[in-house]
């Protein structure tokens, strides 16, 4: 029996009795531990494209060179039903060892690194440097007409910085996509 609560109610609520299959979509950050073998990323991506799931962000690198394990961090959006499917499908894959839904597991640290090239002279240039300082972005390269900033933070912070830099001569951005780990002393 399901209570007909309003869509999108706070999932932390103590009155959280809503049907788990409500059709509202939410972003989930999945941390996937896989064998670092050839083709593994293609398998994971192929699963998403083949079954019509979204990928909002994806990062991958080897994290255990001895065990040849990589961590793939994927941010995906879907209804609870779809996200459960994604996790079950991922878990079926032979090189997949673990799938952790950081969004459901509790609080996670989520970070992204971005590099911004801002081109300008005079006041604009000074202003960009001042704002970079406020955001604690580092200058990693500069010419007389440009700065290249490195910034680490949540995706929101990077979005905000990009927005501020836009009128100041923002020329190019490179972003890594999200990496994330659970907070606390437990491994996930």
């Amino acid at each position: 029996m399901s209570l007909k609560l309003k869509k999108g109610v706070n999932k932390q609520s103590a009155y959280n009795l809503r049907d788990p299959n409500l059709d509202y979509e939410a972003a989930h950050t999945l941390s996937i531990i896989v064998d670092n073998e050839s083709g593994v990323l293609a398998r994971v991506i192929g699963l998403f494209s083949g079954r019509g799931y979204n990928i909002d962000s994806l990062t991958v690198a080897e994290v255990d060179p001895n065990g040849h394990r990589s961590r793939i961090t994927i941010v995906t959006t879907g209804t609870p039903k779809v996200v459960n499917q994604i996790k079950a499908q991922l878990n079926r894959m032979v090189p997949v060892h673990k799938v952790i839904d950081l969004t459901l597991k509790g609080k996670a640290v989520q970070r992204e690194l971005a590099i911004f090239k801002v081109v300008g002279t005079g006041n604009q240039r000074v202003e960009s440097l001042r704002l970079a300082d406020v955001f604690r972005a580092k200058v990693v390269d500069s010419t007389l007409k440009s700065f290249t900033f490195e910034l680490t933070g949540t995706s929101e912070k990077i979005d905000a910085f990009a927005e501020l830099m836009a009128p100041l001569g923002l020329n190019e951005i490179a972003r890594t996509g999200i990496v994330a780990l659970l907070r606390g002393d437990n491994s996930s």
Partner: protein
């Protein structure tokens, strides 16, 4: 290991297969797999069946696997050999059939150069295998092949592919024995959720209108699952229906049998699914051919779903009690606990439920109008059933109306006797599958119930049947139509029969004779029995060209987009026209 202990990659392949207990391989040679064929030539333990097309090798391996419970093995060469295996791999993936395909590949140093007969085989087959491997080091070859067998056969079974470059076949390397491999890659089966199980038993005990809906998973799980299912049905007196893939797990002659459910299932099976208050789904996956319109599917039931694959749970239909694990294990535990608790059921209510079911049965939804001057396809299948059911018999089918009629009118008393392409619906499956079955069961009666159009898709396998003296019976319901397509065009597309004629058909009897096999043509219902007997008695392959009514439709039918209780029982009337919404569905 010293150089002396090393053997070539090609030898490793053969040795690993023998180690795995393989006695039969279906295949087709070519440049990139020649070293392996050379080894094959120099040994006696593995029998190789030379098919006439690689697709047929994969379907033959499927027939072999499904009729024995063993793993089917296929050899193909690189490039076109590998791409020809894609349909069979996909078919096996959809129907959870364990097969291992070993493909030759261009030498490692040429990969990526568009070499002759190079194809990105692991790339192409990634989405249609449970897993696949490209082996670049001869020392890893044995281990990879053993892993491939483990992956194919454990959990939910499925196809795998091992791609072996030619230089890896030639190079020497160490052999790893089957029992020496590290098995940590195998997914562990979760332990049974006993709370969930008890909750399911509570509901079972209180069920007033129960139904058991079983699928291919029961057969894949093996004989003990089949026995447990039969015990449960006998113990509870619950009605049971099965999917196309599940036929035979409960005997067709059993008193609780309602026939197949789904798009062309019986009225009683579908109405019971719709009206039940307790559904026990065992090793089936709520496929769209089963559910009909999702939001109207069995609206008032508590659903228990037993499945070894967690991704099958809540995929199409949300269930109250998922039980993840091997069917045989869970069913045994469920039955034992239910018995310990006193084998309770709602006996009175169940009797009332059976009364409704018997009323639905009385509708005789498989009824058809017979004819004395033309063979009705349903009649042909009925006579085939009558005259062959006492034999040690295996049946495969192609895809189309004939397939549905075979499912409706043939009765299977045991599992692994019925081989058909369910999930993928592959025309051309049945003939090669019948070859694989006959190889595994040389003394049994193997019949492929075929449509003329499907059968032509792999007719080249006549050569294989003749070469290996396989007395497979090709029972072709020849309506000179892509019958199922024609039926949909009649019901959905305003009777515009766009390209659904089987034009320029061969003379099947002459075709048989060209291959030196027996051809029988039958067009008169009064001769049908004699002709079928002649087919059975003939000690070799037979092509039976059964000329049937050309415009017969397969009923009952749940049109796309409709619910179980909206079945069409017979010819079209205004109010059972398929809606526009339904028309976009397949």
């Amino acid at each position: 290991m010293t150089q002396a202990n090393k053997i070539t990659g090609a030898e490793i392949v053969i040795k690993a297969l023998i180690d795995q207990g393989v006695d039969t391989v279906f295949g087709y040679p070519g440049g990139a797999i020649l070293p392996i064929y050379d080894e094959l030539f120099q040994q006696k333990k593995i029998k190789h069946i030379l098919v006439r097309h690689e697709q047929a090798a994969t379907h033959a391996a499927e027939g072999y696997a499904r009729s024995t419970g063993k793993i089917g093995v296929v050899f193909v060469t690189s490039g076109p050999g590998a791409t020809n295996s894609v349909t069979g791999l996909t078919d096996a993936l959809m129907d959870s059939v364990p097969i291992v395909v070993i493909s030759g590949q261009v030498p490692t140093f040429m990969i990526g150069n568009d070499a002759f007969q190079e194809a990105d085989t692991v790339g192409i087959t990634r989405p249609c295998t449970k897993h696949n491997w490209l082996v670049k080091d001869t020392n890893k070859l044995a281990e990879t092949i053993h892993k491939a067998f483990e992956v194919a056969g454990t959990g939910r079974p499925g196809p795998v592919l091992v791609d072996v470059p030619k230089d890896v076949q030639f190079a020497s390397g160490c052999y790893t024995k089957k029992n020496e491999i590290n098995k940590t890659f195998i997914k562990k089966e979760p332990s049974i959720d006993l709370n969930m199980l008890d909750e399911a038993i509570n509901r079972l005990e209180l069920a007033e209108r129960p139904i058991i809906y079983s699928g291919g998973g029961v057969i894949n799980s093996g004989q003990s699952a089949v026995n447990s299912l039969r015990n449960l049905v006998a113990g509870t007196n619950f009605p049971i229906t099965s999917t196309l893939m599940g036929l035979g797990s409960y005997p067709a002659s059993g008193k609780n049998w309602l026939g197949m459910l789904g798009m062309h299932g019986t009225y009683e099976a579908n109405m019971s699914m719709h009206g039940c208050d307790f559904m026990l789904c065992i090793g089936a996956r709520f496929d769209d051919r089963i559910t009909g319109r999702i939001d109207a599917f069995s609206p008032n039931s508590y659903k228990v779903h037993i499945d070894i694959d967690p991704s099958s749970i809540n995929k199409n239909i949300t269930v109250e009690a998922p039980l993840i694990g091997d069917v045989s294990h869970i069913l045994r535990t469920l039955t034992t606990r239910w018995k310990e608790r006193g084998s309770k059921i709602k006996k009175k209510k169940l009797e009332t439920w059976w009364k409704s079911i018997n009323d639905w049965k009385a509708v005789k939804s498989l009824g058809y109008e017979n004819s004395s001057n033309v063979i009705k396809p349903q009649y042909a299948v009925q006579r085939l059933e009558e005259l062959t059911k006492s034999y040690n018999r295996f049946v495969s089918t192609e895809v189309g109306q004939h397939q549905m009629w075979a499912a409706q009118f043939m009765g299977f008393e045991e599992p692994n006797r019925w081989m058909t392409s369910g999930g993928l619906g592959t025309m051309g499956y049945g003939f090669p599958a019948s070859i694989g079955i006959q190889i595994a069961h040389p003394n049994s009666l193997v019949i492929n119930v075929a449509g003329e159009a499907s059968w032509l898709m792999n007719m080249q396998e006549l050569g294989t049947a003749v070469q290996y003296r396989l007395p497979v019976k090709q029972f072709i319901l020849n309506n000179e139509r892509l019958g199922m397509v024609r039926q949909w065009q009649e019901l959905l597309h305003g009777e515009r029969y766009s390209h659904s004629w089987s034009d320029a058909l061969p003379d099947f009897v002459k075709l048989a004779e060209a291959y030196g096999v027996k051809g029988i043509r039958c067009e008169d219902p009064t001769n049908l029995d004699d002709c079928i007997r002649e087919m059975i008695d003939y000690p070799g392959p037979v092509i039976f060209d059964c000329l049937v009514e050309k415009h017969e439709n397969c009923f009952p039918m749940i049109p796309s987009g409709k619910a179980h209780n909206e079945m069409i029982l017979g010819e079209q009337t205004e109010d059972n026209r398929i809606s526009d919404d339904g028309a976009v569905l397949v």
